[in-house]
Symmetry: C2
Subunit: 103 residues, 2 copies
DNA sequence: CGTACCGTTCGATCTGCATCGAACATTCTC
DNA sequence: GAGAATGTTCGATGCAGATCGAACGGTACG
């Protein structure tokens, strides 16, 4: 179980969220997570995006997204599963996820 | 009306908008424009933010915001008046302006 | 136990962006 | 027409962020 520590969304300013979403790799990654809609292995989600980056870079981006309050990370064996924080995001930043969905 | 050319909002991807808003100076500037709620001189809006940057830097940011479809620029004498593109933004990116309003 | 797998951390590097100052353009005013 | 005010453009610079590879740390599984 043991989740990776994450910030309370109330403590996250919109500035940080916008900065997190401004990176093209992270934006595509978040969209992939949204398409998955549930807990998913980060490497798998990355593969969906078609973007190829090193694993250290992915780790860097996942950390950025977690600290921006966008995703949650759970340890499962040798893997890390991630998911969007749908409920909390909907409360704190209503409409945010709708904005980044395909249009 | 709007003398300075601006993109059609349909042609602007959300990526560009997010990148435009990710800069702290531009975000504060947009908030100042939103507080004004109407055509306003960019230099005056900047003064409201309390941020002090050179005029060339302001020009650079205004251009970025315009090309991101967020603001409209009108020439009035020796000045440039700017305003948020409220109606179009509300249609193309509903909830976007609400997100960046104080919370 | 040893090995393969998945991920993090760290240092180095490189690129893009924000910033500035100087020069130029435009318009208003006297 | 001269000068002041506002703003744009351009070249140079500095810095933060994205990227990589190497080394390390757990965990599953033979």
């Amino acid at each position: 179980m043991s989740d990776v520590p994450e910030p309370a969304l109330e403590a996250v300013p919109i500035d940080v969220v916008l900065a997190a979403l401004a990176d093209p790799v992270r934006l595509r990654f978040v969209r992939a997570l949204d398409a998955a809609g549930d807990w998913v292995c980060g490497s798998d989600a990355l593969r969906e995006t078609g973007v190829t980056i090193g694993k250290s870079t992915l780790s860097y981006h996942v950390k950025a997204l977690r600290e921006a309050g966008l995703i949650r990370t759970r340890v499962q064996g040798t893997r890390r599963l991630v998911t969007l924080r749908y409920e909390e995001l909907g409360q704190r930043f209503p409409g945010l996820l709708d904005l980044i969905r395909d249009r």
